[in-house]
Symmetry: C2
Subunit: 223 residues, 2 copies
Amino acid sequence: MKPRVFKDAIYEQIARIGKSLGSGPRLEILDLLCQGPRTVEVLAGQMGQSVANTSRHLQVLRGARLVEAEREGVYVRYRLADSEVCAFFLTLRKLAESRLLEVDEITREFLEARNTMEPVDRDLLVERVRSGKVTVLDVRPAEEYLAGHIPGAVSIPLEQLEERLAELPSDREIVAYCRGPYCVMALDATDTLQSNGFEATRFEEGIADWRARGLHVAVGSEG
Amino acid sequence: MKPRVFKDAIYEQIARIGKSLGSGPRLEILDLLCQGPRTVEVLAGQMGQSVANTSRHLQVLRGARLVEAEREGVYVRYRLADSEVCAFFLTLRKLAESRLLEVDEITREFLEARNTMEPVDRDLLVERVRSGKVTVLDVRPAEEYLAGHIPGAVSIPLEQLEERLAELPSDREIVAYCRGPYCVMALDATDTLQSNGFEATRFEEGIADWRARGLHVAVGSEG
DNA sequence: TGCATATTCAAATATTAGCTTGAATATGTG
DNA sequence: CACATATTCAAGCTAATATTTGAATATGCA
């Protein structure tokens, strides 16, 4: 085998992964799978896409060996092939945030339209969350909380928030988080909390970012 | 702006980077630019591609903000937009190596056809190189050596190796390296050295991997 | 100013990918 | 065994991409 053929073959292999990352819907799938395994139907529902199309994207990702499928009765459950894939997705997202001005522009535009101000000092917020100086609120669906959450966080899925406000302290700051910077659940939650007189802040990182920071992740009903 | 529109826009932005990584030639360009800046003509020559096509690929990468161009007289010199891009490329390469069996298969097939046996313990070799227990030989073109090399390494470009054998010690192990695992220059060098009676090993990592390990990189004619 | 060279652009073609629709497959249940 | 449901497959259309070729642009130098 000639060196040229060898190199072309190797780079073409790496490009298999690149190609699979070249589609918005597929990146959203990866982001969702970072929260935990999901069936095709659930993914399609969360993305607002047809099941057939979602299935197709999943197979492209499977072809690039980034996700794996497992039959569970009548359902097929997809998961990331390795935790390395989640870490890689975060690296890619971070690269996009630092290299593409548009990401920041779009985010600012979105937040301004909601009259939302983002907290600036991310690390300081991490420290307050980590040290338990605030009440941490996880507003994702219960199963995602069970699959992994910030230690000490309280689970109240967004849909139940209004009817369970009594469970939250009114004399202590509440920090709400969800799936990550481009998930809007925690934004909705802080809006609801603030209009009910609570002192609430949004924490824009998700559990995957938390793990990537090397911090402990609680599972099940643990702390 | 609706959350769905916002999310789609964000993921589409990240996909810009993904798309740019979905082509073998473009990944080779990134790999080469990790060694240092280059003009379009040089890149095209090193890849065996037409200048026009190389230029086109470079603009795709520039559109994804991964590379930057700078006019230098009659030439245009391209470089990585940030050292973060090089680190990211290495992460992607590593992901491909660990997730895609084919990468290993192709490499093994290529090496077996050359009757080459790769050293197994990479970290041990790094340690021997780092501690100066061996003579380290950089066989890349001189300008790449000047742009950054392993501290203590001797520079003898591959084309000059046969006529400069006398500069190398015959009583001490020589470890040759080049641009990285998919560059064949160090393989050719160890072949030449071994058939001339030297004790030679190939170090398959490049200067970018060395830097990513957090080790010091010498520049210019330093050490 | 005009020529030589490096790079980019534009047009054209072939290939590949995305999405939709409707059918096919596979599993669990009555 | 037949039915219901979840998932995948196949066909077809549209859109995007890779590559080549030839022309256009921009810079340095005489």
